[in-house]
């Protein structure tokens, strides 16, 4: 038997997002140019028509997410990519995708803010915007990536989660990861798990589009396939029709939350690095996790029991992973390229058990391994 040749490629994070999206089955992209996410648009404008997909540049980011939701309702896996300012504009239709339960993927290549901020410099300042940016009480899934390979994997995961749980999924990467080039091995199609939305199998007259199911996720009919139903951003009953009845509103909002919460363990993605015996654990995500890994390695060389918890799922917050490192760690260090967004969550889970040390940098430069190591030495 011929040995399969591994396909090694040198890719940028943004390019890996494109590869992941195409492999996951994405066939529609609508976007608006913005640094540092533009490469995703540019490459998909070449690739999507080659696979009978559609690329369209819209008039703004509001329109981009609108078109993405429309395409998804018509049955095509769809995504957009943007950065901070554009992500702010998408918040309106993001809420629509949540309440109407429309699968879609939004990649936010984070840059410094507020406002126009730092277009070509990295940041992690949209963590809370991704969680709470759209109005109303809603669940959301937010993933992150710290390597080029993870950009690929997390994009595939983002599509799978969006299809499986009928929800928008946000992938937060940052300017460093988006623009950095690394070698990665492209997996074979057979090695990638792809999930497609569950469609109704009952006859159309029996279809109740927003009826509760054991998973909390109702089967989704695509437009034009015989299941004529109503999709609205108004709070609706199980048939999709607007409702003002408390006995219908309550269960609906509860189901939206439950369908994510009850799959918590499946959604939680993390990497524990040298945490088994760690008295100090660094909790990091995105490009900071790269620096943190090296800092942990160097600290270990110095004989310090330090570990890393790398968060690949950012929301819902990784309570169980943090609780796990709290079994050994008396100190948690949370370096972030913002004024402290995930560290608040860490403190909330910690409940005073360990000492939580924050390290925040918002000057547009990355947090280096030396800085994290210095912090480790300072507290140990």
């Amino acid at each position: 038997m011929k040995k399969r040749k591994l396909k090694e490629v040198l890719l940028q994070g943004n390019e890996a997002v494109v590869e992941g999206a195409l492999r996951a089955g994405c066939r529609f992209f609508a976007g608006y140019p913005i640094t540092p996410a533009t490469e995703i648009s540019e490459i998909l404008s070449v690739s999507l028509p080659q696979v009978n997909g559609t690329f369209i540049q819209m008039e703004d980011e509001i329109a981009s997410l609108g078109a993405v939701i429309g395409a998804s309702l018509a049955g095509v896996k769809a995504m957009t990519a943007t950065s901070g300012p554009g992500f702010s504009l998408m918040q309106e239709n993001l809420g629509f995708a949540v309440i109407a339960e429309v699968p879609c993927v939004i990649v936010n290549v984070m840059r410094g803010g507020p406002s126009t901020g730092l277009p070509t410099m990295p940041s992690q300042s949209d963590v809370m915007q991704a969680r709470w940016g759209t109005h109303g009480d809603h669940p959301i899934i937010v993933l992150s990536a710290s390597t080029v390979r993870e950009c690929f994997d997390m994009t595939v995961k983002a599509f799978n989660f969006s299809e499986k749980f009928r929800t928008p999924v946000i992938l937060l990467i940052d300017e460093v990861v988006g623009h950095m080039r690394e070698k990665m091995v492209l997996p074979d199609d057979g090695d990638i798990e792809i999930f497609n939305r569950v469609k109704p199998t009952m006859p159309p007259e029996w279809y109740i589009p927003y009826e509760d199911t054991p998973s909390g996720v109702p089967p989704m009919a695509n437009f034009g396939e015989g299941y004529r139903y109503h999709v609205t951003g108004l709070t609706h009953d199980i048939r999709g029709f607007p409702t003002s009845r408390p006995d219908e509103i309550g269960p609906f909002i509860a189901r939206l939350h439950r369908k994510i919460r009850q799959h918590y363990s499946e959604i939680q993605l993390e990497e524990f690095y040298q945490t088994e015996d760690a008295g100090i654990t660094v909790i990091a995500y995105g490009c900071v996790a790269r620096s943190a890994k090296r800092a942990v390695r160097e600290a270990r060389e110095k004989g310090l029991k330090v570990g890393l918890l790398k968060l690949m799922t950012v929301w819902p917050f990784m309570r169980s992973a943090v609780e796990k490192v709290l079994q050994t760690s008396k100190i948690l260090i949370v370096p972030e390229m913002n004024m402290g967004q995930i560290s608040r969550e860490v403190k909330r889970v910690n409940q005073g058990v360990a000492r939580v040390v924050t390290y925040n940098k918002v000057d547009g430069t990355i947090i280096t391994p030396e800085e994290i190591l210095h912090k480790v030495m300072e507290v140990s």
Binding site: E59, G66, G70, A71, A74, V76, F223, R228
Partner: protein, 278 residues
């Protein structure tokens, strides 16, 4: 039941959602009737119609009819419709908007949809006011009129939706009124059959809000105003400017051919397949 009523009922969702939200005497029902008659006359299947709307009184229209229906965010209906149409070009996508929806909050989407020439039909109900929120000034409220946010007087100039659509590049633009129901039927029918971005502006009345605040009388009186002030575009060509001062032009404003987005994109797909994957 008369034949025409039976026809309307064929397309309604009887299982839920009646009575409707609109005020007695509202023009939206007339517009809906015209749309249903046009759809029935052309012979579209219910499954192939996607009816998309924004927010406001007109935004509530799709829920009552038995098509694939999509009630989107305020002003964004055309963007959702763009996604639906490009993802499944065999669907007939019709967008219902109000004046605030189409040319205030959604103005940017409107001109770009027209410029792009995607095969969509936009039907815009223009009643010169934000009705659902209680009668505020809209971008089509005429100069000098009153609303709950211009209680002294509206000092802004109004958008002329059809003229705007022509300038933005729509390939078919027609304006009708809810008084001229037969004209409305034919305008919507022509718009639906037109390949490319087509617009029908429907002049309607909001006697509950706009009419009351400006003392314009009942729904019937406001429709009589439409009868007395509407001038066919062909006739207007022979009239002087001062004669046309308080008139509204009705009829077909433009009917032209331009490359349609989907056809052009199909060509892009063919070209792209000859290029190595990047």
């Amino acid at each position: 039941m008369s034949e025409i009523t039976k026809l309307i009922h064929k397309y309604l969702r009887h299982d839920k959602k009646f009575p409707h939200v609109w005020c007695p005497g509202c023009g939206i029902g007339i517009m809906l009737g015209a749309l249903i008659r046009a759809i029935d006359y052309i012979g579209y299947e219910k499954d192939e119609i996607v009816l998309v709307s924004g927010i406001g009184c007109s935004g509530r229209l799709p829920v009552y009819v038995d098509f694939n229906t999509l009630h989107t965010t305020h002003g964004r209906a055309l963007t959702f419709a763009t996604g639906v149409k490009l993802a499944k070009p065999n669907l007939k996508v019709i967008v219902i908007m109000g004046d605030g929806d189409a040319v205030a909050i959604g103005g940017n989407h409107f001109i770009h949809a027209a410029r792009r020439n995607i095969d969509l039909t936009a039907i815009i109900l223009n009643n010169c006011v934000y009705g659902m929120t209680g009668g505020q000034n809209s971008p089509t409220t005429p100069y000098g009129m009153k609303s709950t946010t211009t209680v002294y007087s509206n000092i802004e100039q109004d958008f002329k939706i059809s003229e705007l659509a022509v300038t933005a590049g729509a390939v078919f633009v027609g304006r009708g009124t809810v008084y001229h129901a037969k004209l409305l039927d034919s305008l919507i029918e022509k718009a639906l059959l037109k390949k490319g971005f087509s617009v029908v502006e429907v002049i309607s009345h909001c006697h509950t809000q706009y009419g009351r605040q400006n003392r314009l009388g009942s729904a019937v009186e406001m429709m009589e105003w439409q009868r007395d002030h509407a001038v066919p575009v062909e006739k207007a060509l022979r009239m002087k400017a001062e004669e046309l001062k308080d008139k509204i032009l009705i009829g077909v404003f433009i009917d032209k051919e331009l490359p349609v987005y989907q056809d052009e994109y199909d060509k892009i797909r063919e070209r792209a397949k000859g290029v190595g994957r990047k």
